[in-house]
């Protein structure tokens, strides 16, 4: 499962998740261009690719290959599981 918390520690990876929530199933190049456009991030393709690998390792992103395209889908279940670790007994 890797480390979900480490994966969430980087702001660029969090922005990638934001982007996938807004539009799921994007390719690497789509994510790159949309990060540059909307979020003003000037990260290279390789950097984003490595970030996606970390997110995939953590189980936060699942990738499905189709021809030369690879579509990335967010999976928020690991986050929901982690939520309860310190906040279980309380009821705000």
């Amino acid at each position: 499962m890797g480390d979900v918390f480490k994966a969430l520690a980087d702001p660029t990876r969090r922005t990638i998740l934001d982007e996938l929530v807004e539009r799921d199933g994007q390719t690497l190049f789509e994510i790159c261009s949309r990060l540059a456009m909307k979020h003003g991030l000037s990260s290279s393709r390789q950097a984003i690719s490595q970030h996606l690998a970390v997110l995939e390792d953590a189980g936060l992103v699942r990738a499905r290959r189709e021809g030369r395209y690879k579509f990335h889908h967010i999976d928020t279940r690991p986050i929901r599981e982690l939520l309860g670790r310190w906040t279980q007994p309380e009821e705000p």
Copy 2:
């Protein structure tokens, strides 16, 4: 507010939060000895002190000084606020 995610990225800091959930309001030396006993961590006092500073910066721990003692209290509100970021629209 610092970076809550970065604070949660380190496993030792997460164990400290676990320890504070189980018994809130511990001093630095209490945390050190209990981490060594129960969790088998052999971190130095200074290391734990620096971890507590990070947690305090992130708003996850609030410290109250009393004489020569400093009691540490966990505050899980930042966690609850952040975890809704990607899991708001869903209902499992």
